[in-house]
């Protein structure tokens, strides 16, 4: 590496026709890291940022200090987590199908990442606000957001709380702590900081949680958010979902020479942790810790959730063109549903049979709602929204030029 300067182009471990290869990824043992004090400082967070907090070991046993930290999370709570994830998976499956049938224009799954949103959301309280990306529908699921609203949005039909304004999956629900999704990557991250500042100023006791993908950490607003969070120290959790891919672009293009995304946050003076995102117990434990810390006024914290995007980027994408075919199966952190299931079976609270039954029940439930929602219109069989909605809500009060345009349109 001396002589002429030569540019570096980061490459993924494997491309199509190559064997999946994650040998470069170091997976620390479960239970290796302790639970830091709630007022953890950035300088003291190095090991958490460069290591990885894991609770479930390879046998599915919960081990180490973080397991103790959530000892109060009993089997019922974990079963709820499992059901959240199963419901998420069922919804993704049914809606993907709907898109394939032309019943909606677009869909996007979060397969493999269910533990993150599901586990995190269950640690929040009413009034807390997520600033999600398009891949955090699991937050809505674990917030018990009505499936009818969720699906209505995707069908852009009469059930859509957004009245057809937004692309499918661009949900928005103030009541369920889910900020309106933008589509322009990164913008929500600094908005989360602003919202949290407002919380602190108004002493609401509520916290905010920003969400961003590994690829979108490259965006300007990621920087803006870390910077302002570091300066003003509002009650905000800055989540980074590192699922290894940004459409076709390997995560290495956004990491560059940095060790982890968590380490990047530390450069801003924000304490940061990296977590096995496919380990529901690790997610729940670290979320609980982060929520408690943030609500207590110890300032911002960044969490890198390490996971893998199992599905295509969206229904517009075909990953077989850019990554190894069986990469998901080779992912060293496994599948979040399978891992939690194994754990629950191991602790005697679950069985293969009950799992199969639960899957079927949940799929039924989801399918039933789906049918009801589809009755309100789909792309194949539309019951269109009134065109006059186009002019509604551009401003609080409709200005004259919009009234003229609405008339010109014939309404």
């Amino acid at each position: 590496m001396t002589g002429q300067p030569k540019l570096n182009f980061p490459h993924p471990p494997a491309r199509p026709d190559q064997t999946p290869n994650f040998s470069a990824i170091e997976i620390p043992a479960a239970g290796a890291l302790d639970v830091p004090p709630l007022d953890l400082q950035s300088v003291d967070s190095r090991d958490y940022a460069n290591g990885m907090i894991r609770v479930l070991d390879d046998e599915g046993t919960a081990v180490g200090p973080w397991a103790e930290y959530i000892a109060d999370l009993d089997s019922d709570a974990l079963l709820q987590g499992l059901r959240d994830m199963l419901r998420m998976r069922a919804v993704d499956k049914r809606l993907l199908n709907a898109q394939r049938q032309g019943k909606t224009s677009f869909y996007l799954q979060c397969t493999g990442e269910e533990a993150i949103g599901c586990g995190f959301q269950r640690q929040l309280s009413g009034g807390d606000m997520n600033f999600p990306t398009y891949r955090q529908q699991s937050l809505l699921i674990a917030a018990d957001y009505p499936l009818r609203d969720l699906m209505g949005q995707v069908y852009s039909n009469g059930c859509d709380p957004l009245e057809g304004r937004q692309l499918p999956i661009m949900h928005s629900s103030r009541d369920y702590g889910f900020f309106s999704i933008s589509g322009n990557l990164g913008t929500q991250y600094i908005q989360a900081v602003g919202w949290a500042m407002a919380n602190a100023l108004s002493e609401t006791g509520e916290i905010a949680a920003g969400w961003i993908g590994d690829g979108a950490t490259a965006s300007n607003d990621f920087h803006a958010a870390l910077l302002c969070a570091s300066t003003y120290r509002p009650p905000v959790i800055l989540n980074i979902v590192n699922n290894q891919w940004a459409i076709s672009t390997y995560t290495g293009v956004a990491t560059g020479g940095a060790r982890t995304y968590a380490a990047r946050a530390r450069g801003y003076g924000i304490p940061a942790l990296r977590v096995d995102g496919n380990d529901y117990l690790a997610v729940a434990a670290v979320s609980k810790w982060a929520v408690a810390r943030t609500r207590a006024g110890h300032g911002p914290v960044a969490i890198e959730w390490f996971t893998y995007r199992v599905a295509a980027h969206s229904t517009s994408d075909d990953p077989s063109a850019y990554r190894a075919k069986d990469e998901a199966a080779a992912w060293p952190l496994g599948d979040p549903v399978a891992r939690l299931k194994t754990h629950l079976i191991g602790r005697g609270a679950w069985s293969e049979e009950r799992h199969v039954q639960a899957e079927a029940e949940i799929l039924d439930e989801v399918t039933k709602v789906q049918k009801e929602v589809e009755a309100q219109g789909t792309f194949v069989n539309p019951q269109p929204t009134s065109p006059a909605t186009i002019f509604k809500g551009v401003y609080a009060e409709m200005p004259a030029h919009l009234r003229r345009q609405r008339q010109e349109m014939g309404y």
Binding site: L162, S180, N184, Q191, T231, V394, A396, A400
Partner: protein
């Protein structure tokens, strides 16, 4: 009262009245802003209400969007309009559309203040007039006062508005009216009737224009500094111009414009911004459509040239009273 004092007064009134109002931006806190518009406000209202930010315009607006959505009323400063571009994404894609895209469950009542326009030998990065860009964006309001009285009333209205408002401050008018005679002596606002600014709360409806000079020959559409340049030009040309100060570009007071042009049948539009796709194009398109059968001569635009704002040749670039006067004369000849 100068326009600076009037703006400060508006913020002071709102800070006192509404605990949700917040003021922030680069150097606006302790120091009170490079143009001193916020001087004294931090000392009076506290650091939690008025504070300094890192130098990142998209962070400033991005934070404001989040705060506004959570019920605050942020009124932020961008140090010069020339520095608003890093915030363009947050303003046009986020603030402007939040109400719409969330079907009104999240809203974005914020104000972005910025000094605009030339005439201070500021070169390319302290002289720009980007108003047209914002008027293209559905969901924004765009306001530009030309007097201390209007500045206060409009800023109060902007802070109280339920939607995002781009508030452009013609910096050449901060300390006094400017008729475009750069070599001449300038007088301050204290000698101008519009420098008289009432105490306390009042507001001016966003979306209403003001006829600054009634006339019968030709309608002049202007805003900001160009209102005074137009006055000087009308005098120079000896034309009985009706000068309309738009004050609000979006929404636009088309009724007032139409009434005037139907009367005069002639119209000249003036602005400092570059000509191509400037707001003058929009005005001409609207006027010709609304008043086509009344027009006696072609609508004209007098604007900054389609070049970056220069330093040494500023007064050849600035659309001064001579150029405007020639257009008025031409409008009458055609």
């Amino acid at each position: 009262m100068t326009m600076i004092e009037a703006l400060r007064d508006a913020m002071d009134v709102k800070l006192a009245q509404d605990p949700k109002v917040l003021i922030f931006g680069e150097d606006v806190g302790y120091f009170g802003g490079v143009f001193r518009c916020t001087a004294g406000l931090q000392a009076k209202h506290g650091e939690e209400r008025v504070f300094d930010t890192p130098i990142n315009e998209s962070a400033i607006v991005g934070m404001a969007v989040g705060m506004a959505a959570q019920g605050m009323r942020p009124c932020v400063e961008v140090q010069f309009a020339d520095y608003v571009y890093p915030a363009f994404d947050q303003i046009t894609q986020e603030a402007a559309r939040l109400r719409y895209r969330s079907n009104e469950t999240f809203t974005c009542p914020l104000v972005v203040r910025m000094p605009t326009g030339g005439g201070i030998f500021g070169g390319q990065t302290h002289s720009q007039s980007p108003e047209a860009l914002f008027t293209h964006v559905a969901g924004l309001k765009v306001v530009i006062p030309s007097t201390p009285y209007d500045a206060k009333g409009l800023l109060i209205a902007a802070i109280e508005d339920p939607d995002p408002v781009i508030f452009l401050e013609p910096k050449r008018l901060y300390n006094g009216p400017f008729h475009g005679d750069h070599a001449g002596k300038s007088t301050g606002w204290s000698q101008h009737p519009a420098g008289e600014v009432p105490e306390g709360h009042y507001s001016i409806d966003i979306g209403t224009a003001e006829v600054r000079r009634a006339g019968t020959d030709v309608t002049v559409l202007a805003y900001g500094t160009m209102v005074y340049v137009a006055e000087a030009a009308a005098e120079r040309a000896g034309v009985d111009a009706e000068i309309i100060d738009l004050r609000s570009l979006l929404p636009l007071d088309l009724d007032t414009i139409r009434a005037s042009v139907e009367k005069t049948g002639r119209c000249v539009v003036v602005h400092e911004a570059t000509r191509t796709s400037g707001f003058g194009g929009e005005l001409i398109a609207e006027v010709q459509e609304a008043c086509f059968w009344h027009l006696k001569s072609p609508l004209q635009r007098i604007t900054g040239w389609d070049a970056p704002y220069p330093h040494a040749t500023e007064w050849d670039y600035f659309p001064g009273p001579d150029r405007v006067a020639r257009a008025l004369t031409k409008a009458m000849e055609d």
